[in-house]
């Protein structure tokens, strides 16, 4: 489903002329199969987020090739990446990344709106999903009126609304207490089991890693060992 071949990444920092190169990822080769839950673990600063950002198309690799669903996405431009994300990915973020001026309902609806789906069809889908993640009664609440766990459910609902084949999550439980974390993990397992959604989850949390089929350990920008 996702394939990285010889991917390296380095950041350029500092002013032009006095640039400094910060190498972060070195020659990454990895393969995520369809229907897998893969955990990416490693110490802070080891390059986990950078890896996920490359898969998401937020940044471009300095070298190497990335394939998703058989398509070479290494050379997509910004607009093509946007369309690709909308069609293939759901995203769950550590800090939820909900739009503050929109209600829970509108946040979940957003990908449908972007895709150009009519409002009648949207309503049914959004309400059903909000029901499933258990926050239908908060549909008209703004993110600031919701707890962290509720916000993360909204964000999960948003990631799933277009029924993407892949969900990318960067420390999804990082801002949650253990009870909410448990619910989230149960939800992920269930979705993976029932819908066959592929998950790539970054975590430094043992509990999260425990639901994964496989863990990839990053060490100083290299794939270290398998857990």
């Amino acid at each position: 489903m996702i394939e990285l071949a010889g991917v390296s990444h380095q950041f350029r920092i500092g002013k032009r002329g006095k640039e400094r190169v910060v190498p972060v990822l070195h020659d990454i080769n990895l393969k995520v199969e369809k229907g897998e839950i893969v955990a990416v673990v490693g110490r802070s600063g080891s390059g986990k987020s950078t890896l996920l950002n490359l898969m998401s198309g937020y940044i471009r690799p300095s070298s190497g090739e990335i394939r998703v669903g058989g398509q070479n996405v290494t050379k997509l431009d910004e607009g093509e990446w946007a369309n690709f994300r909308l069609a293939n990915y759901g995203f769950i973020f550590q800090s939820f990344q909900l739009i503050g001026s929109m209600t829970a309902y509108e946040n979940v609806e957003l990908p449908l709106v972007l895709k150009g789906i009519g409002s009648g069809e949207r309503r049914a889908k959004v309400m059903k999903l909000l029901e499933q993640v258990g926050i239908a009664e908060f549909a008209n609440h703004y993110p600031s009126e919701l707890s962290g766990g509720q916000q993360q459910r909204v964000s999960v609902a948003r990631s799933l609304i277009l029924e993407p084949p892949i969900v990318l999550a960067d420390e999804p439980s990082g801002s949650l207490d253990s009870e909410n974390e448990k619910t989230l993990l149960t939800m992920i397992r269930q979705l993976n089991h029932e819908l066959g959604i592929t998950f790539v989850i970054i975590t430094h949390d043992e509990q999260v890693a425990s639901i994964a089929h496989r863990a990839i350990r990053l060490q100083d920008g290299r794939i270290g060992g398998l857990a």
Binding site: S56, I99, S101, L110
Partner: protein, 449 residues
């Protein structure tokens, strides 16, 4: 993303800072109002000066001198031509002169009338065309007539005017006429009476003398009924007392009232000054010799066109100044919403969608400004037209002509001003919109933009 969703989205965003929105729309509206009002003065002066001072009919009338012999065998203008003119687009009226071919010996209170011709006109068409009277009214009944302004003017032997007596003193008086005709080999006369109800306006060309008697079609028919000839024409004889056979033979040669008529002084009056040019072209294409004052007004109109362009240009500067406000508002909006934009891009919003949303927002500001600006401009225009004559009268003791307009807003000026406001708004929203599309997803998600 559907257009209706874009609109909804933009409206939601615009509501986030109502005061700022209001001020921006206000500035745009003021610019738009200024543009329209300023330019409307150019339009108003042009219309008032060209249409009113030069004279409505002079501008809209097209004189027809006949047909081009290259295209027509007979160069006269006949009934069928008149009918065809009436059916053309943008024609308000078609007028003509149809002269009586005999001396009717007109008298008022026994005094001989110094008229130079008697002519039949279509009073209904003349009224529509703007036949101007200096006194009285247009005829309504068949026996009512209008007399020329100079009909009582005295002349010396050289034909120079020696004195003018007011023709309007004859209003409501009866004019006696004598129709000469031949019957049973004899020359006879039949008296007729007509009531003078109107006096024409003094001709605009100062050297012209209007000494005509104008009658309607009813009187013409009466005259023709008496003589049995078209336009009351009489046969001409070399000898003093022609024989009855000669008279009958000559009469038989004259055209009958039922025969085709040709008309003099045909004028086709356009519905509006702007239509004259097109009308002249149409008529020329059909092979008529024409002349219209528009041919001469080109210079004046060119001058006004330049003036209007100048005013619109100055007005556009006001809109441009307002656009600084839009630019500022949109830049702030992009900065404020950088995070939301980042989130949208992160989950798959195409940069062009982001750009569209911001362009739409600035276009909405421009549109709202244009609408409010236009409404206010119409108000200001009305106020100027109503108020300025009063002010001028108060302070300069000068009377402004009744239908003189200082400010006229033609629909296309409104369209132009709205177009300019909208265009400038979108132009000033373009850079902020572009900046929005360039927002980096990761910086936005880290909340450090």
């Amino acid at each position: 993303m559907k257009f209706q969703d874009q609109i909804r989205f933009v409206r939601q965003n615009m509501k986030k800072n109502k005061t700022r929105l209001f001020m921006t729309v206000l500035a745009t509206a003021m610019g738009c109002t200024f543009l329209i009002v300023l330019a409307s003065v150019g339009f108003g002066l042009q219309q008032s000066m060209v249409d009113n001072i030069v004279g409505d009919r002079l501008v809209t009338a097209v004189d027809l001198y006949g047909k081009n012999p290259d295209q027509h065998k007979d160069t006269n203008i006949y009934d069928e031509d008149i009918q065809m003119f009436r059916e053309l687009a943008d024609v308000k009226a078609v007028t003509y002169r149809n002269n009586i071919y005999q001396w009717l010996n007109p008298k008022v209170e026994g005094e001989e009338v110094g008229s130079d011709k008697t002519t039949q006109v279509d009073f209904e068409a003349e009224t529509k065309a703007g036949f101007d009277l200096s006194a009285g009214r247009m005829p309504e009944a068949d026996n009512e007539i209008v007399i020329g302004y100079h009909i009582r003017e005295q002349m010396d032997e050289q034909g120079m005017p020696t004195g003018y007596e007011d023709a309007s003193e004859w209003l409501n008086k009866t004019m006696t006429l004598e129709v000469t005709y031949y019957a049973a080999g004899k020359k006879l006369t039949e008296p007729m009476e007509a009531v003078i109800v109107g006096v024409t306006e003094i001709p605009t060309k100062e050297w012209n003398r209007d000494k005509t008697i104008y009658m309607g079609v009813g009187m013409l028919e009466k005259i023709e009924g008496i003589t049995g000839t078209r336009n009351g024409e009489l046969p001409y004889f070399e000898v003093e007392n022609p024989t009855a056979e000669k008279i009958d033979a000559a009469l038989a040669n004259l055209p009958k009232p039922s025969e085709q008529r040709s008309y003099q002084d045909v004028q086709v009056v356009a519905s509006h000054a702007e239509k004259v040019k097109g009308l002249v072209e149409t008529l020329r294409d059909k092979g008529f010799y024409t002349h219209s004052i528009v041919d001469e007004l080109k210079q004046v109109n060119l001058m006004f066109a330049i003036m209007k362009i100048g005013l619109i240009f100055v007005g556009t500067i006001a809109v441009l100044i307002a656009s600084i406000g839009i630019f500022n508002t949109m830049t702030m909006a992009v900065t404020e919403r950088a995070q939301d934009i980042g989130i949208m891009k992160a989950i798959g919003a195409h940069p062009s969608v982001i750009r569209k949303l911001f362009l739409l927002e600035s276009a909405m500001i421009g549109l709202m400004g244009a609408i409010f600006g236009t409404v206010v401009a119409y108000g200001v225009s009305l106020a100027v037209n109503a108020g300025l004559p009063v002010v001028i009268k108060q302070f300069m003791e000068e009377e402004v002509p009744a239908d003189f307009l200082f400010s006229v807003i033609p629909p296309y000026l409104t369209a132009l001003a709205c177009g300019i406001s909208l265009g400038v708004a979108m132009l000033s929203g373009y850079r902020p919109a572009l900046r929005a599309t360039r927002i980096d997803v990761l910086s936005a998600l880290r909340r450090d933009v």
